[in-house]
């Protein structure tokens, strides 16, 4: 029992996720700055930002639904944290694992986006409303490709758990090359989930101020910011577990390998962010349905065919 609580709250649970997400935000911002020929922030800047926001006054609009307005950030962070418990950190298995957890993680990752939508909707500002509608529009575009991209490796491996997939691709490392289209689809689609450039139309600051978060301030905004960072960690971790099947038995070494793998994913995301402009919401929808979904469908078909052909 104490070990389970330690797992939930400290490692690999809430505390580790918080620290690692702040560190990730720092790496993201620093690399982004260096790519733009800037100095970038010092290592404690994300923590300083977080603490400053915590100390600020929380203003709630008069017209907003107060209980919902307050509960949504916590709800979003809880969902992201819960998803993290099923993701492997030091080996092939996460803290908890069962057949079908890959679907649960993806489902839990949808909740923050829905929370952003509701947050914008209930804060009743025009900018927030438009931002939240864009969030939801975007959700319908990237969610399908991301599900298909992350589940098509599972079709080949025949297991619906992250641990099962990891074990399968660890024993058959060459088969991961088959999943390269799925990896490309996933990398592009998660930009939409994380609302990063080029798919950051829901929070485009030069158009709609801060989108769904326009009316949020202080502690509640800090929690939302942390949710976005945590989501980035969870997404990078699940992609690392499924698409980069390099595992070792030693937990310490395994943990270091995990850090390297997530860093590679972050690096790819940061490069995309720094070389692209924001595209419009309708261009994003067209792009996802015209290119990403067919590519993911081809991957599923390929994996279904190969499952019959390959000696497994």
């Amino acid at each position: 029992m104490p070990l389970a609580i330690f797992g939930l709250l400290v490692f690999p649970g809430f505390l580790f996720l918080s620290v690692y997400s702040l560190w990730f935000e720092y790496l993201d911002r620093k690399m982004y700055a260096r790519m733009q020929n800037r100095q970038g922030p010092p290592w404690f800047q994300p923590l300083a930002d977080f603490l400053k926001l915590i100390g600020k006054e929380t203003i709630i609009p008069d017209d907003a639904d107060k209980p919902v307005f307050k509960i949504l950030p916590v709800f979003a962070l809880a969902a992201a944290t819960a998803a993290f418990l099923y993701v492997p950190i030091w080996g092939q298995t996460g803290l908890y694992s069962f057949e079908g957890d890959i679907v649960v993680v993806l489902y839990l990752l949808t909740i923050p986006t829905l929370a952003f939508f509701l947050a914008g909707w209930f804060s009743t500002s025009v900018y927030a409303t438009i931002g939240s509608v864009r969030s939801l529009t975007q959700l319908f575009s990237y969610e399908i490709p991301i599900f298909m991209a992350l589940l098509s490796p599972a079709i080949l491996s025949g297991s619906w758990s992250i641990a099962g997939n990891a074990a399968f691709y660890h024993t058959h490392p060459l088969y991961i090359l088959i999943n390269i289209p799925a990896f490309i689809v996933a990398v592009i689609a998660i930009q939409g989930k994380l609302e990063r450039v080029p798919f950051d139309a829901p929070e485009a600051e030069t158009e709609i101020v801060a989108g769904a978060f326009t009316e949020y301030s202080g502690r509640l905004l800090a929690i939302f910011r942390m949710t976005i960072d945590a989501e980035l960690i969870v997404v990078a971790s699940i992609m690392a577990a499924i698409f980069f099947p390099a595992f070792v038995a030693n937990p310490v070494l395994g943990f270091i390998i995990y850090l390297v793998k997530t860093f590679i994913i972050l690096f790819i995301l940061t490069v995309i962010r720094s070389v692209m402009a924001r595209i419009r919401i309708e261009q994003m929808v067209v792009f996802c349905w015209k290119y990403l979904v067919p590519l993911a469908l081809i991957q599923i078909l390929l994996n279904l065919l190969l499952k019959g052909v390959l000696p497994l």
Binding site: N37, P198, A277
Partner: protein
């Protein structure tokens, strides 16, 4: 959501706008069906204040009409004054004015490129182009002593000279800026997300440009070869080797291309000026009292045609100074450009004319015909109204003690 009309205000305070201006957009889904442009938050009364100051004092006010095209306004004003006074300034002074004007165009266009990049979420372009803009600003600061208000002009010529060291530094700067501009031109013309965001946005066709009186890069992007430097040369521009850049795109993409390509033309002019700088006096003596007369002058500022009118009455003070900044000419087509486009593009379209709000703003007179619902308050009535407004909400502002001013040293 798709059939419901939403009215969204962009401004007066909005992250996309660097100065206050209010654009009221009516949306149908994400499309803008109606746009109302509201400017006039920044009226400073510069024209009026010029009337009670001497010409040399006016020069410092006129230089501060605009932060970016400070040299444009002061040169244009001085040309009007010098025409009335019948003074011919030296060739060297003219060449130095041209040099400053082209450096100003360089830094203005690089600034715009960065702003446009930021608005479409391409912050890398912002950081790169502003980094290169620093090189130009450094040169301006070396020559003029300041980054934006160079104070190089004076009545009858220029105040500062260009020496051999300046020429060498400027040539180095030109090489780097040209190299970088080539890179930006390549990005602007080939990068897919950039082209997707800029192409077909904020259309203002050739005919519309003429109808609404658009000037500068906005009209040149639609194929109107309207460049005062060519059509009505001043400051010996007729000697300078450069081409008028026009495109047929007529959209924000075209305006970007025009601005990026104009960087090359400016570099060409700067090189010519540096190689052929004539000798001569910097300043010609001009009497303090300007004879009676009136003059209208035109000037190609980085944002387009700038028009100044000066009427002199034989005293030390001008009788009337009129400034028509380029942004004012471009506002008229703005609603037409925004309507029919997406909300996401509205800030970009606004930024694409490179608007300068405070240069443009006029005093607005409220025509109070409907006395039933409207009333005009004078200062004391307005004060009383605000005191009552707070009293009704339980705050007695008359009891608030203003703490003594503390000085922190």
């Amino acid at each position: 959501m798709t059939n419901k009309k939403v009215v969204i205000p962009i401004g007066p305070q909005h992250p996309a706008l660097k100065e206050p201006g209010c654009f009221t957009l009516t949306l149908e889904g994400e499309k803008v069906t109606n746009a109302v442009v509201g400017v006039g938050y920044n009226h400073r009364g510069l024209e009026k204040s010029c009337e009670s100051r001497s010409y040399i004092q006016c020069l410092y006010i006129i230089e501060r009409v605009c932060g970016i095209c400070s040299h444009s306004h002061s040169t244009n004003f001085l040309r009007a004054v010098e025409q009335i006074a019948g003074v011919e300034i030296s060739r060297r002074a003219n060449y130095i004015r041209v040099l400053m004007a082209e450096l100003e165009r360089l830094h203005s266009h690089l600034l715009w490129l960065g702003v446009a990049g930021h608005i479409i979420g391409f912050d890398t372009l912002l950081m790169y182009s502003w980094r290169d803009r620093e090189l130009v600003l450094d040169q301006l600061a070396t020559i003029g002593g300041n980054r934006v208000n160079y104070g190089i002009n004076t009545i009858g010529g220029v105040r500062r000279d260009i020496d051999a060291q300046n020429i060498e530094d400027l040539k180095k700067m030109c090489t780097i800026v040209e190299e970088q501009a080539k890179y930006y031109a390549q990005i602007a013309l080939t990068e897919t997300t950039l082209a997707a965001r800029l192409g077909g946005v904020g259309k203002l066709s050739h005919d519309d440009c003429i109808k609404y009186g658009a000037v500068g890069p906005t009209s040149r992007a639609a194929g109107v070869a309207d460049d005062i430097r060519k059509t009505d040369p001043y400051c010996l521009y007729e000697e300078m080797p450069f081409d008028v850049i026009t495109t047929e795109y007529a959209d924000v993409f075209g305006r970007t291309v025009v601005r990026v390509l104009e960087i090359f033309e400016s570099v060409k002019i700067i090189r010519y000026v540096l190689d052929n700088l004539p000798d001569g006096e910097l300043v010609v003596k001009v009497p303090r009292k300007i004879p009676a007369g009136e003059s209208v002058t035109r000037y190609e500022a980085p944002r387009g045609e700038d028009v100044h009118m000066v009427r002199a009455n034989g005293t030390e003070y001008p009788e009337r100074v009129r400034v028509r900044a380029p942004s004012e000419a471009n506002w008229h087509g703005m609603a037409h450009m925004i309507e029919g486009d997406y909300l996401a593009d509205a800030p970009l379209i606004i930024a694409a004319i490179d608007p300068c709000y405070s240069c443009t703003d006029r005093k607005i007179i409220v025509d109070n015909k409907d006395t039933e619902t409207q009333s005009v308050l004078d200062w004391n009535q307005l004060r009383q109204y605000s005191i009552d407004w707070y009293k009704n909400r339980g705050i007695d502002t008359t009891k608030i003690q203003i703490p003594e001013k503390k000085l922190y040293f």
